[in-house]
Amino acid sequence: MREFNLRNNIGEEYRLNSLDNFFHTPEGLGFQRNAVFQKIGDHYKIVRDGFRQQPVSGQIMFKSDVHESAYNRYLKFKNFLQEIPLTLIYRIPGGEFQMTCIPTEVEKTEINSAFGMNVGIELTPTTMWFRNIEKEANSSSVTLISDSVNESPCGLRFSGVTKSNADLTWTQTVDGVTVMTGKLLGVTIASTDMVYVRSDLDPYAIYKIPSGGTSTSSLYAKSDFSTKRFPYIYKGTNVFTVTGATFINVRGYILYETV
């Protein structure tokens, strides 16, 4: 059994599998690619290849019954939609996948059947489909395994810094090959501070939050610019290691074109 849900920007969830408001005839769950080819004789060379943004669309049937009219149910949905961006949650036997999106079209109608009001909706994604992933350890390294060829953004979090003015260093290997290193230079960090290195933000960020979370201070300018610094999760076994701290957390999104 599949299930669609929506979550808005203030954390409210809207069930689309309820008989009161049921999402049906979905389209756009596959993918399109921006592949460009060059014809050479009787074959084609791929010049470039990339993911194409493709809306997910479908119909929502708002039920009219003795408890509530379809009009009222639609008005509640309209209020829910105002808090963008939305997250479309898609649960299937293989797992739960999400996609951040913006409602780009809603086809409001009248009650058009004995059952209620059928409203068309188009959700345009701002991300690919993704699966949340998070691991942490009270040690110097954690391991994540990704089954996607898409480079997936993530955030690292360290604490328990062992030196107050440490050269905090982090590295990432994928299937044994070092793909990224990062370093903080001459920064005063308390053992209770949380240090974040995030490629899942735009722009990228490196910052620390002291115990109690009362302030945030950017450490970007104190990072070693000669290193890559920002982690991405690659297909294979990803091992993240930190030197100079006793706790590490990795939280990210494994990206998929279709699920």
Binding site: N34, V36, Q38, I40, K45, V47, R48, D49, G50, F51, E151, L185, G186, D202, P203, Y204, Y220, A221, K222, D224, F225, S226, K228, F230, Y232
Partner: protein, 559 residues
């Protein structure tokens, strides 16, 4: 696909902020022959602000764009706000040196590394400039090329000439000698480091292999070859006739880009058909330029003494002698001591005496006699042979009559040093701070010494000796090579491949590397001079020094 990370730094390399841009929209061009400007579309909310969050036009700030192993740097030249996105315009870092300066025409000679000369110019005008606004913050310059030669701007009789550092010096050195200017930010330790920007002058002498590109292979998406044909006359043989000695030198170009005076080097193939160019020279004049420039600079050791009894302590005099000797060794040049006294010429020494004895005739009566003859303004420079034939020492004193009272007198010993490497290049005042016992090292006027030298027969002897030396031969070789090089790379070859092509690796090779590009069995020896990252995921590599786009031709300003 990972986005590109765009980082902005102010003119002092303080990090300001960053943003992300899509990999598919990013394009970039780099041209070592005709520097270009690139445009970068950034999100609408990406607006230039200072560290204090004050809005400011970002002109002169630095931009760095990275993605995995790719890195592109530039200096921001413009910013434009659009309706949906903003646009940053940025130029290649080397355009920081697109400035006019004054240089001595003889400052770069065939006896000197071109890279060393270029370094001295950058240090003078962009590191130690008295107008500090023109200095580039944290600039460090290294000279990693040992190619010697002259540059086109030296072909003038004027002692000084105004040149554009980028066009007349850097690009000329690249075009004629393959000395490329590499400008890179020192990304390590951006916050605390003092070296923010590094300039290296280097050639590909360290590379023993020459990569080969075969353009007929299927991984090459596109290629174009524009080979300059001067009515079919590409010079591959140069005959240089010397009017002074009547000697004739001939240089032959081989297909691998090398040259020789041997018309038939074993294992190599001469360029065919033979096209000859004749150059007439006068090696005496060439040698005169060398000797002039070699001893063009001048500094002096000065030791001041207030004398009670008319003698300088022998220990100090020995120290002075030792300092002169050290300088001669250090700079491998002439050391002289001069005197420009206000008194009678016989006050100090006997012509021909060795330095140790020159002061002995100096007595109280000499001082008295001198003071009585203050109106006698004599200037005498004495040369005494000292050491080997190419080292001479002059010695003497200067006399200040104001201190001549109650039998006290102040005298100055001066030892002038003149030679090509005398003035340390990094020193902002062009003088080496130096102290040897109580002998201060200062710059002083010693023009008369050089003038006297240049009027002597010894000077003529020196020129004739130089004219038959290896230095002159080097000049002739350079003239020939210059002819060959102008033709060797006077072409435009463009090869387009995928950015991730594992065979060609288009992002891997340094600009300035030598390559052999092969098309239909013909090999073109060339150098990589440009690279373009295109929007469709392809990379265009440009080889050779010729440009066929009109805008680029105009940009080249006659180089």
């Amino acid at each position: 696909m990972k986005p590109y990370n765009v980082e902005i730094f102010d003119e002092n390399f303080n990090f300001l902020y960053s943003t992300l841009i899509d990999e598919e929209t990013f394009t970039y061009r780099y041209d070592a022959i005709s520097p270009v400007k690139n445009k970068l579309n950034v999100p609408k909310d990406f607006k230039p602000k200072t560290l204090l969050n004050e809005p400011r036009a970002p002109k002169g700030w630095f931009i760095r764009i990275t993605n995995d192993d790719e890195e592109y740097d530039g200096v921001i030249s413009g910013f434009e706000e659009g309706e949906t996105e903003n646009t940053i315009e940025y130029a290649q870092l080397v355009t920081l040196f697109d400035q006019e300066v004054v240089v001595e025409t003889q400052a770069v000679t065939t006896a000197r590394y071109i890279s060393t000369f270029l370094r001295s110019v950058l240090n003078k005008y962009f590191v130690n400039n008295a107008d500090t606004k023109q200095n580039v913050h944290g600039l460090t310059v290294t000279a990693n090329s040992t190619i010697k030669g002259t540059l086109p701007y030296t072909n003038t009789d004027d002692k000084y000439v105004g040149v554009n550092v980028l066009n007349d010096l850097m690009l000329a050195a690249y075009k004629y000698y393959g000395i490329r200017t590499v400008v890179i930010p020192n990304n390590a330790y951006p916050s605390s480091g003092t070296q923010k920007l590094i300039v290296r002058f280097m050639d590909d002498a360290n590379f023993t292999d020459i990569p080969v590109f075969e353009t007929n292979l299927p991984n090459v998406y596109d290629s174009s070859f524009t080979i300059k044909k001067q009515s079919g006359r590409e010079v591959n043989k140069v005959i240089i006739k010397d009017l002074y000695f009547g000697t004739e030198y001939t240089y032959y170009l081989y297909t691998d880009g090398t040259y020789s005076t041997n018309p038939s080097v074993s294992g190599k193939t001469r360029v065919f058909p033979v096209v000859t160019k004749v150059i007439i020279v006068n090696v005496y004049e060439l040698a005169k330029n060398i000797v002039d420039s070699k001893y063009n600079n001048m500094i002096a050791l000065v030791a001041e003494y207030s004398l009670y009894n008319g003698t300088i302590p022998s220990a100090d005099w020995s120290a002075f002698q030792s300092a002169c000797s050290n300088l001669m060794t250090k700079y491998d040049t002439y050391v002289g001591a001069s005197w420009t006294p206000n008194f009678n010429q016989y006050a100090l020494h006997t012509p021909g005496a060795t330095p140790e004895y020159v002061l002995y005739p100096f007595t109280q009566s000499d001082i008295d006699r001198t003071s009585k003859n203050q109106s006698i303004q004599q200037s005498k420079t004495y040369f005494a042979r000292f050491g080997s034939n190419n080292q001479r020492i002059m010695h003497g004193t200067d006399y200040d009559p104001e201190y001549n009272f109650f039998g006290h007198a102040s005298f100055t010993l001066g030892a002038e040093v003149f030679g090509q490497y005398v003035r340390p290049e990094q020193d902002p005042y062009d003088v080496e701070e130096w102290q040897y016992n109580n002998i201060a090292f200062t710059e002083s006027l010693a023009k008369s010494a050089v003038s006297a030298y240049q009027n002597s027969s010894a000077y003529t002897d020196e020129i004739v000796a130089e004219a038959s030396s290896q230095d002159i031969r080097n000049i002739l070789i350079e003239k020939a090579v210059c002819e060959f090089n102008q033709n060797q790379y006077a072409h435009n070859i463009e090869v387009t491949v995928r950015k991730d092509d594992p065979l060609v690796r288009p992002l891997y090779w340094a600009i300035g590397r030598s390559f052999d590009v092969v098309r239909d069995g013909t090999t073109y020896h060339t150098i990589l001079t440009g690279r373009e990252i295109m929007k469709n995921g392809l990379v265009k590599l440009t080889f050779g020094t010729m440009r066929i786009e009109l805008t680029k031709l105009l940009n080249m300003k006659g180089i």
